[in-house]
């Protein structure tokens, strides 16, 4: 895993994970995914990602619980981008001390711009 541009996508919707990973991988990012906060904690224990895209309403361990546990264990070094379909995405992101937020549904361009604010976009493969 290239930790400099590794994005961890945490969402309970497999299709949402798939399309976010597809878009980010096309943009040159490395991605990993987890279906809930508990699996995400297991993933970050292996290697810290460069940024975490976090859904809030998830089974087993939701976004609030994950963020609290993650910050307690690893501090605030890794930016969290809250991507939620819930109302008031901004206040939801403030509740978990997130670095950014992305209300669903979102534009792919907004997703890329938001991630790029925290992890510079890698050069596309065909330009290497």
């Amino acid at each position: 895993v290239n930790r400099r541009n590794d994005v961890l996508v945490v969402d309970d919707d497999a299709d949402m994970i798939e399309v976010i990973e597809l878009v980010l991988q096309d943009a040159g990012y490395a991605t990993r995914s987890a279906l809930n906060g508990k699996l995400a904690l297991e993933a970050v224990a292996i290697a810290l990602p460069a940024v975490i895209v976090l859904d809030m309403l998830m089974p087993v361990m939701n976004g609030w619980q994950f963020a609290r546990e993650f910050r307690a264990r690893y501090g605030g070094g890794v930016p969290i981008v809250v991507a939620t379909a819930a109302e008031h995405a901004r206040s939801r992101s403030e509740e978990v001390d997130a670095s950014d937020f992305l209300p669903k549904p979102f534009e792919v361009g907004d997703l890329l711009r938001t991630i790029a604010r925290h992890v510079p976009a890698p050069p596309p493969p065909n330009t290497l």
């Binding site: 976010i20 878009v23 379909a85 819930a86 008031h88 979102f106 792919v108």
Partner: protein, 437 residues
């Protein structure tokens, strides 16, 4: 108690003997005057007629004196009988009215509390006792402070209602009728949501309230249904947003390799995704507003970036060019997410009611102590008759209603202005003021 609840007057009353409450009240002075006049006339007639007869048949002074004394006793006896009859009739009538009034109050399905001039409960009906899960006797004489302790009266949000803020107390000073929604927590059961109304009983115009009638309507069940609906909308909105987000992202992910035809189809899918998303948000706001749980999260925000961002959104470029007219750099304190929904709703309305390819103009400017945000467009000829076809609550009507609700929630307003052939839908928001919803 059960007989009373069923509307039976205790003691039984012949319905024909009941006073017709729809008739104008008769004058007590007139009745008393009539009775006194009849009594005086009858007494005078008795004295004169018996004297004429007596002096006609006898000239014996001793006999006349004895008969005069007997006449006096007879007069006293007859007057006493008459007084008894009149008093009995009046007292019986008053008792019937009192029992009828009590029976009417007792038969009301809502809880009724009558408060006397000392602001304590003077009478309560059985429905009130059932609602409050206590005996009627326990309520009589209870003051606001005791009521507050016994039934823990709270606002729907959870805060305790101070006894002095009970509408049954406020109505003595403020007049009425007043109403509010409260939650009661009677001992030995679940909480009750009550819609309460209090009104003063005045004996004359401008008089102080002698009594206060407080009616408690149990809306626990309907409130529960409202909450369920609210939860349903919340859950449905979240559930709908996720697939819409996936579809939209999927379509956008396909675009880089798509040809012109597929791009057009993809753009159409995106537009419909945005439309569904906006509809879901509108329905959610409407549900929240109806259940009085709409919350706004105002932040200090510059208007220019938001307006420019919405103007650039691809959803409008399908049929229109969206121009912006921004004066200065107005900033407001508003819920950005909700304000964006308002502007998109008005833009969508303008888009629906204007010819294809015609320009839409987004205007934002400071106006004194407020900020005006407008959407200007050339309407189609059938705009004013659109509701005949689509109804008042199609997605345009819903959007306008939500826009008005959110604007008012920010302490602002929504209005429309026609200038020549153009219409502008304006929302006015207080500059730098907080939201109050």
């Amino acid at each position: 108690l059960d007989d009373r609840v069923a509307g039976v007057v205790p003691g039984g009353i012949d319905p024909k003997a009941l006073p017709d409450l729809t008739q104008r009240a008769y004058s007590a002075h007139r009745v008393a005057g009539t009775v006194t006049a009849v009594f005086a006339a009858a007494g005078l007639a008795w004295v004169i007629l018996t004297d004429i007869v007596l002096y006609g048949i006898s000239h014996d002074h001793i006999l006349i004196a004895r008969i005069e004394t007997a006449k006096g006793w007879i007069f006293i006896a007859l007057a006493s009988l008459l007084l008894y009859a009149v008093t009995f009739r009046s007292a019986a009538r008053l008792d019937r009215v009192r029992r009828l009034t009590a029976a009417i109050v007792d038969s009301i399905a809502d809880g009724v509390l009558l408060l006397g001039h000392d602001r304590r409960i003077a009478h309560a009906n059985p429905a009130a006792a059932r609602m409050l899960r206590c005996r009627l006797e326990e309520l009589i004489g209870m003051g606001a402070a005791d009521f507050s302790i016994r039934f823990r009266v709270t606002y729907p949000g959870g805060g305790l209602v101070p006894p002095g803020r009970f509408i049954s107390q406020r109505v003595f000073e403020e007049g009425g009728p007043l109403n509010h929604k409260i939650t009661l927590h009677p001992p030995g059961g679940g909480a009750l949501v009550i819609s309460a109304t209090a009104a003063g009983v005045h004996m004359g115009v401008g008089d102080e309230a002698m009594w206060v009638v407080s009616v408690m309507h149990d809306i626990t069940e309907s409130e529960h249904l409202e909450r369920l609906r609210d939860q349903f909308f919340g859950a449905a909105a979240h559930s709908l947003k996720t697939p819409v987000a996936v579809i939209k992202a999927d379509v956008q992910a396909l675009l880089p390799g798509a040809g012109p035809k597929h791009r057009r189809v993809a753009a159409s899918i995106e537009r419909q995704c945005d439309r569904i998303d906006r509809l879901v948000q509108n329905m959610l706001v409407l549900a929240r507003a109806r259940s009085q749980t709409l919350e706004l999260y105002p932040i200090e925000m510059a208007l220019r970036p938001l307006v420019e961002q919405i103007a650039r959104e691809a959803v409008w470029s399908y049929r229109h060019q969206v121009r912006t007219e921004l004066t200065g750099s107005p900033s407001i304190r508003a819920d950005q997410e909700r304000l964006a929904l308002v502007i998109r709703n008005l833009l969508y309305e303008a888009s629906r009611f204007s010819p294809a390819e015609s320009p839409l103009t987004l205007v934002a400017r400071p106006e004194g102590d407020r900020v005006a945000i407008g959407v200007r467009y050339h309407p189609v000829s059938w705009r004013d008759r659109a509701s005949e076809t689509y109804g008042d609550y199609d997605d345009v009507g819903l959007g306008r209603s939500v826009a008005e609700t959110i604007a008012e929630g920010h302490g602002g307003s929504l209005r429309e202005e026609t200038t020549g052939s153009e219409i502008t839908s304006w929302i006015y928001l207080p500059a730098e003021s907080g939201a109050n919803a």
